[in-house]
Amino acid sequence: MLYIKCPHCGMRPQIEFSYGGDASVKRPELNKDVSDQDWDDFVYNRKSLRGKHLELWQHISGCRQWIKVERDTSTHEISRTFKADEEVA
C-alpha cells in the first residue's frame, strides 16, 4: 500500500485516496473549437509511461483536495507531491 504525502495533511496511506489519472492532461477551454483529434486526445488517449508520472489523486477520506503526485510507475517511488494549484517545475 502506497504512503502518500498529502500536501495539506501529511503522510497518509493509500486507502484514504482515490486515483484520478494523468495530471498533465489539460482540458480544452470552454467555448472554443476543438478538433476531433485534440478532443480525442483529451478524453481518451493516455500514455502508459514507465518511469516518472505526474498523476492526480484525491484525498477523498481526508481533506478532499485533489493533489498532484509524481510517482515512478515501475518502482512506485513517490518523489514529490503538489497542491492542485501548485506549478510543477
Binding site: M1, Y3, R27, V34, W39, Y44, Q58, Q65, D85
Partner: protein, 998 residues
C-alpha cells in the same frame, strides 16, 4: 502408545503437562510445548502423508517453516483447516489431525500406483496429456485433475472464528528473533526507538535455542532469554511471538500474521483466531536467518531422511530422537553439530562427509568423542519404503563424478546437511535485487531498494561474532537517525567454534544401472530427471522451468528446493548460477488464512449500512428493506400476507389515486455556495442555469467528458449565491468528487464551494392528487396553491416548530412535493405527515412502487443512465443547450452519437397484456432467427402499470425513434421466455406531463 523416542531431561517442553491428541484416528500423547511433528516423532511416527504426484510415503523433513511435506488436515473445535504444517502446529489437548492426499489410508494408498507409472508422469505431463481430444476435457480430464489437485480440503461451513486487523507504525520493524534480531532490537530499543520484534515461532531466540555457543559468559539460549525479558519491560518495544511477517509491500509496509489462538484447543471468548498487522515501518531489519539445504541423492524423499538441523532441533528443543541409528550426510561442519548432540545422548551416529580432508575445531571435537566419520563418502540411495531401513553408501572421487563400491549400511534415519540458504524472501519482495555469494553458493540481498537491511545468516553471515557486531551496529545506527539518541551498548563476548569451508557439492551421481528418483522439490514431487526433461524440451528461462515442472511453486515456494534446482539448471546449461537467476519470491512467505486477510469485513461488516432517520418507523411498520448502494431502503410495507408484487401495486395505486409518502433521505445532496455557483452549474449541467431565479428548482442532466450521462437531479436556488443540488442515491459520492475536480483543478478561478449535505437533511416525498391538500394542512400559514407554489417552486416554512424546506418536484409524475427537515427531525416530520395525512388516505410507499410510478411516466433512473447512454438515448435532448458549452458537449458530436438509427428509450407492452417482461431481456425482430440472433435493444426496467393494469417496460432500442408501433419479440434465455411485444412511447402515462403542473 508410549513416547519411545523421548529422552529424559532434555528440551524446552513442559513435561509436567501431558497432552492427548489423535492422528489418523489413533490416540497418542505428547507434552505442552511440542509441535504435532515433535510429538509424533516422539511416538516413533514417521509416516505422515503421501506425496502430491506419485503418492510416495512422506515423513518429516524439517522442524519448522522449512517443512515441505508434513502437511495435515487439522480438526479443532468442530472446525477443520487444511494446509497445516505439522512442524508448526503446536500441540494442544484434544488436537486431531489427518493425513492428506491419500486414500483409503496413509499406510495403504491406492494413488501410489502413480509411483509405478511414474514413467508416464514426467515434467509437463498435464500439459502434454490433457490437451486432446478437446471433448475429453469436461468429462474426463477436469474431474480427474480436480480430484488429484491440492492438499487437504477447505471447510464449507461458515467460519465462526474472528479475525482482526491492526494498523501500526514503528521506527524499526525487526523480522526474526535470532541473534541478529535480538541484538539489533536491543540496540535500537536502548536508543528509545519504537521497535516491533516479530518471531514466527512460539519461542524467541532462533538458532540460539539449538546452537552450542556462549554469549557474555552465558549460553546462547540464556542470553536470548535475558534480552527478551528486558525488551518486554521496555514501553517502546513490542515483542510478538507466533507472528510471521509474510509480506513486504510498497513504501515500507509489511504485513504480519499473528496466530493468537491456533495453539489453544479453542479460541477464547472475545479473542481473535488471528490478527493481521499492517505495519508501516521507518526502517526494517530482516533477520530471518537461513534454512539448511538438502543434498540430492537416490530416494531422498523416504521418511526418515531429514535435514540435520531439524534432527538437532527435535533433540534440543523437544527432547526427541528422530532415530536410534542415525546416518549423517554432510558437506559442511553443521552435520557434526547434530552428530555431537546424538553422541551426547548415548546414540552412535555415522558421519559421511563429502569432503576429503576437512579440519576444524568442531570436527576435532567429534573425533575426540569417538564419532565414526567417513570422509569422501556419500549416500547413494536410501532404502526402505515407508521408513528408512538402510542406506547405500559409497566413496566418491575428488571430482565428485565417480562412485566407489556401493556398500549397504543399516540406519533408521539419514540427516542431511548441504550447507545453508539465507532466507531472502522479504528482502526480495521489497524490490531488492539479490546477488549471488560464491562462498556460500547462495543468493543474498543486494542493494536495498526500500528502507530495509538484512542481517546475520539471512545476509549470508554465519559467524555469530560478526552477526552480533553488525546487528548491534545496525540497531544503533538506524535508531540514532530517528531518535537522535546515542546510548552505547556493549557488545558481549562470543565463544563459538570456527567452521571449515563447505564442499560445493549438492547432488550425488546415479550409480551405473540404477534409476533412483532424486528429488529436488519435495512438496511438488519434482525430481532431477523432470528438470532435465524440461531443459531437453527447450525450456531455458528459470521462470519457465519453474512453471513447466512446478519446481518451487505452491505453499513451499522453494524453501528447500530453490538452490538445488538452480544448481542443476546451471550445470546442464553450463552457466554460472547467477546467470540462471532465481524465480521471483512472492508474498506470502507461508500460507495465510483467507479469514485473516478478510478480517472483520465479512457479512454485514463487509460494507457500511446507512439508515435514514426514519428507519425505526419503517421497521415498526413492516417495511421489507432492500439494499440501495450502502443504504437500506423500504422496498414495500407489507400488509398481511401481501407479497412484493401485491404490496407495491397497492402502494403505487394509492399514489395515483390519493397520496403516498416516500422516504427520499438517501438522495445525494450537495450544498453549493459562492458568487460563481450559477456559472459552475451552467458548466456542469447540459441545460442553462444562469437565469434560474431564487426560490426555483430546475431539473438537470450532467455528462462525463465522453458525453455519457453521469447523473441527473434537481437543483434549487435557495438564495442569491446558495444552491441545493440533489443527485441520485448511487452517484452522490461521485458527483461530489466530480464537482471538486472541476473547481480545484480545471476552473480554480470559479468562486464557489461544494459540500455534501446528504446526512444533514431527512427527506419525504408526498405524491398524489391529494398531496396539496395534505401540504396545506401541514403548513397552514403558507400559500401552497398552484400559483403560490407552482411546479418547480421552492419555499421555506415551519413544520410544527421545525424548520422545513419544501420543493415542488416530482419523480412519480403526480402532483408532488418534497419536504426536507434537519435529520434529527426526520422522524418527527414523518410521523406528522402520517398523522395529518390519515384523512387523505395516505400510505407510505417503497422503492418498488416508486419504480412503478417512474417507469409508467418514462422517467429515467439508474437502469437507463447506465454509463452507456447519452441524453438523446434517454429522450433528454431537449435539455441539451445548443448555445452554451458544458462538460462533455464536444463528445456529443461523435459519429456514433449522431447516427440516424441511434438507440433511444421506448415503452414496451406485451401483446397479451399479461406476461411480465424480465428486466435485461433482449429485443429481437425474429424470435426464430438462427443464433446469434441480432439484438436490437434491451429491457432496462419493468413494472406492472397501475394506471392500465398490464405489464409495461422501458427499453433502450436501436432506432427507437422510428420503432413506435412496431411488433418485436422479447427474449430471455435465462428465464426461458419469448414474448411478442409492441413498442410504444416511453411516456405511457400522462404523456403531456399535466399532473405535475396541476
Amino acid at each position: 502408545m508410549s513416547q519411545n523416542f523421548r529422552i529424559e531431561n532434555v528440551g524446552l517442553i513442559n513435561k509436567d503437562k501431558k497432552l492427548c491428541f489423535k492422528f489418523n484416528g489413533k490416540k497418542y500423547f505428547g507434552y505442552e510445548g511440542d509441535t504435532l511433528a515433535s510429538a509424533l516423532l516422539a511416538n516413533g511416527v514417521h509416516l505422515v502423508g503421501r506425496s502430491f504426484k506419485y503418492h510416495r510415503p512422506r515423513g518429516f523433513f524439517g522442524a519448522g517453516v522449512d517443512e515441505p511435506y508434513a502437511i495435515v488436515q487439522l480438526y479443532r473445535n468442530n472446525e477443520t483447516e487444511p494446509n497445516i504444517k505439522a512442524t508448526e502446529q503446536e500441540l494442544f489437548e484434544g488436537l486431531e489431525a489427518k493425513s492428506v492426499n491419500c486414500w483409503p489410508s496413509v499406510n495403504f494408498d491406492i494413488g501410489a500406483i502413480n509411483n509405478f507409472l511414474k514413467i508416464f508422469l514426467p515434467a509437463g505431463f498435464y500439459y502434454k496429456t490433457f490437451m486432446w481430444p478437446k471433448s475429453f476435457w469436461y468429462r474426463i480430464y477436469e474431474p480427474f485433475i480436480r480430484k488429484a489437485a491440492g492438499l487437504g480440503v477447505a471447510s464449507i461451513k461458515h467460519d465462526k472464528e474472528r479475525y482482526e486487523h491492526k494498523y501500526e507504525h514503528c521506527d524499526l520493524l525487526i523480522a526474526g528473533s535470532g541473534p541478529s534480531g535480538l541484538s539489533s532490537a536491543y540496540a535500537a530499543a536502548k536508543n528509545g526507538a519504537k521497535v516491533i520484534l516479530a518471531e514466527d515461532k512460539p519461542r524467541f531466540g532462533g538458532s540460539l535455542l539449538t546452537s552450542d555457543v556462549n554469549i557474555g559468559n552465558q549460553s546462547g539460549k540464556e542470553w536470548a532469554e535475558g534480552i527478551i525479558a528486558e525488551l518486554k519491560t521496555m514501553p517502546n518495544v513490542v515483542v510478538k511471538n507466533r507472528s510471521q511477517i509474510f509480506g513486504y509491500y510498497d513504501h515500507n509496509m509489511l504485513v504480519m500474521s499473528e496466530k493468537v489462538s491456533d495453539h489453544l484447543p479453542a479460541t477464547k471468548k472475545y479473542h481473535p483466531n488471528k490478527r493481521l498487522w499492517y505495519i508501516r515501518a521507518k526502517e526494517v531489519l530482516i533477520s530471518s536467518g537461513s534454512i539448511e539445504r538438502p543434498i540430492v541423492f537416490g530416494n531422498n524423499d523416504t521418511p526418515g531422511v531429514m535435514l540435520s538441523s531439524a534432527a538437532k532441533e527435535y533433540l534440543k528443543v523437544y527432547g526427541v530422537l528422530v532415530g536410534r541409528n542415525p546416518l549423517i550426510f554432510t558437506n559442511n561442519d553443521s552435520g557434526y553439530e547434530t552428530a555431537i548432540e546424538f553422541k551426547k545422548h548415548g546414540v552412535d551416529p555415522i558421519v559421511l562427509d563429502s569432503r576429503k580432508n576437512p579440519e576444524s575445531e568442531i570436527i576435532n571435537e567429534a573425533k575426540n568423542i569417538g564419532i565414526n566419520i567417513k570422509n569422501s563418502y556419500v549416500v547413494v540411495a536410501a532404502q526402505g519404503y515407508k521408513k528408512v531401513k538402510s542406506a547405500d553408501i559409497a566413496s566418491i572421487s575428488d571430482d565428485k563424478k565417480q562412485l566407489g563400491k556401493i556398500e549397504n549400511i543399516q540406519c533408521d534415519c539419514i540427516c542431511v546437511s548441504g550447507f545453508w540458504t539465507p532466507t531472502i524472501h522479504l528482502a526480495s519482495q521489497s524490490g531488492n535485487k539479490t546477488k549471488f555469494k560464491e562462498e556460500i553458493d547462495a543468493f543474498i540481498p543486494g542493494q536495498s531498494k526500500q528502507n530495509e537491511r538484512t542481517l546475520g545468516a539471512a545476509n549470508g553471515v554465519f559467524s555469530l561474532e560478526e552477526t552480533l557486531k553488525t546487528s548491534f551496529a545496525a540497531g544503533s545506527e538506524l535508531s540514532k537517525k530517528i531518535t537522535e539518541n546515542d546510548n552505547e551498548v556493549l557488545i558481549p563476548n562470543v565463544v563459538e567454534k570456527k567452521s571449515s569451508k563447505h564442499d560445493k557439492f549438492w547432488c550425488v551421481p546415479l550409480p551405473e544401472g540404477k534409476n533412483y528418483k532424486r528429488f529436488l522439490d519435495f512438496q511438488n514431487d519434482v525430481s532431477v530427471s523432470d528438470v532435465e526433461i524440461a531443459l531437453k524440451e527447450g525450456y531455458r528461462s528459470i521462470e519457465h522451468v519453474k512453471r513447466y515442472t512446478t519446481l518451487g511453486m505452491a505453499t513451499d515456494q522453494g524453501k528447500t528446493s530453490n538452490l538445488n534446482g538452480l544448481q542443476l539448471v546451471s550445470e546442464i546449461e553450463n552457466k554460472v548460477v547467477p546467470a540462471v537467476g532465481h524465480t521471483t519470491f512472492r508474498p506470502p512467505y507461508t500460507p495465510v488464512s483467507i479469514g485473516a486477510i478478510v478480517g472483520r469485513e465479512i457479512g454485514k461488516h463487509s460494507k457500511p449500512t446507512r439508515k435514514s432517520p426514519m428507519h425505526a418507523w419503517h421497521e415498526k411498520n413492516n417495511a421489507v428493506f432492500v439494499d440501495a448502494g450502502v443504504w437500506l431502503r423500504p422496498r414495500y410495507y407489507k400488509r398481511g400476507n401481501e407479497n412484493l408484487f401485491e404490496g407495491s401495486k397497492r402502494e403505487a395505486k394509492n399514489v395515483r389515486t390519493n397520496v403516498g409518502v416516500c422516504d427520499v433521505t438517501t438522495l445525494g445532496k450537495i450544498d453549493i455556495k459562492g458568487p460563481d455557483a450559477a456559472e459552475l452549474l451552467n458548466r456542469v449541467y447540459t441545460n442553462a442555469w444562469l437565469k434560474l431565479p431564487v426560490g426555483k428548482a430546475r431539473y438537470g442532466v450532467m455528462l462525463r467528458e465522453d458525453g455519457i450521462v453521469m447523473d441527473d437531479g434537481t437543483t434549487t436556488r435557495i438564495s442569491e449565491n446558495h444552491y441545493h443540488m440533489t443527485t441520485t442515491t448511487a452517484q452522490a459520492a461521485n458527483v461530489l468528487s466530480h464537482l471538486e475536480y472541476y473547481l480545484q483543478l480545471v476552473w480554480p478561478e470559479l468562486n464557489a464551494n461544494v459540500v455534501s449535505t446528504t446526512e444533514q437533511w431527512a427527506g419525504a416525498a408526498i405524491a398524489g392528487p391529494k398531496s396539496r391538500d395534505l401540504l396545506q394542512k401541514l403548513f397552514p400559514n403558507s400559500n401552497v396553491s398552484n400559483e403560490g407554489l407552482p411546479f418547480m417552486g421552492y419555499m421555506e416554512d415551519d413544520l410544527y416548530g421545525v424548520k422545513a424546506r419544501i420543493f415542488r418536484i416530482s419523480f412519480s409524475g403526480e402532483l408532488a412535493y418534497e419536504i426536507n427537515v434537519e435529520s434529527d427531525n426526520g422522524n418527527f416530520m414523518w410521523e406528522k405527515i402520517m398523522e395529518v395525512g390519515e384523512e387523505f388516505k395516505i400510505q407510505p410507499y417503497g422503492t418498488e412502487a416508486l419504480s412503478t410510478l417512474r417507469i409508467e411516466m418514462g422517467h429515467v433512473a439508474g437502469s437507463e443512465l447506465d454509463g452507456r447512454t447519452i441524453p438523446y438515448d434517454n429522450a433528454l435532448e431537449s435539455l441539451v443547450s445548443k448555445k452554451k458549452d458544458f462538460i462533455g458537449k464536444r463528445s456529443l458530436q461523435r459519429t456514433a452519437f449522431i447516427a440516424d438509427d441511434r438507440q433511444r428509450i421506448v415503452g414496451v407492452v406485451p401483446l397479451d397484456k399479461k406476461t411480465s417482461i424480465p428486466e435485461g431481456s433482449h429485443l429481437v425482430k425474429d424470435a426464430n432467427a438462427p443464433l446469434p440472433n441480432p439484438k436490437l435493444g434491451h429491457i432496462s426496467a419493468s413494472c406492472w402499470s397501475v394506471e392500465y393494469d398490464n405489464p409495461f417496460s422501458l427499453a433502450i432500442l436501436k432506432d427507437g425513434k422510428n420503432m413506435i408501433g412496431e411488433k418485436l419479440f422479447v427474449m430471455s434465455p435465462l428465464k426461458n421466455k419469448v414474448i411478442p411485444v409492441e413498442i410504444v412511447s416511453s411516456h405511457y402515462v400522462d404523456p403531456k406531463g399535466e399532473r405535475v403542473r396541476s
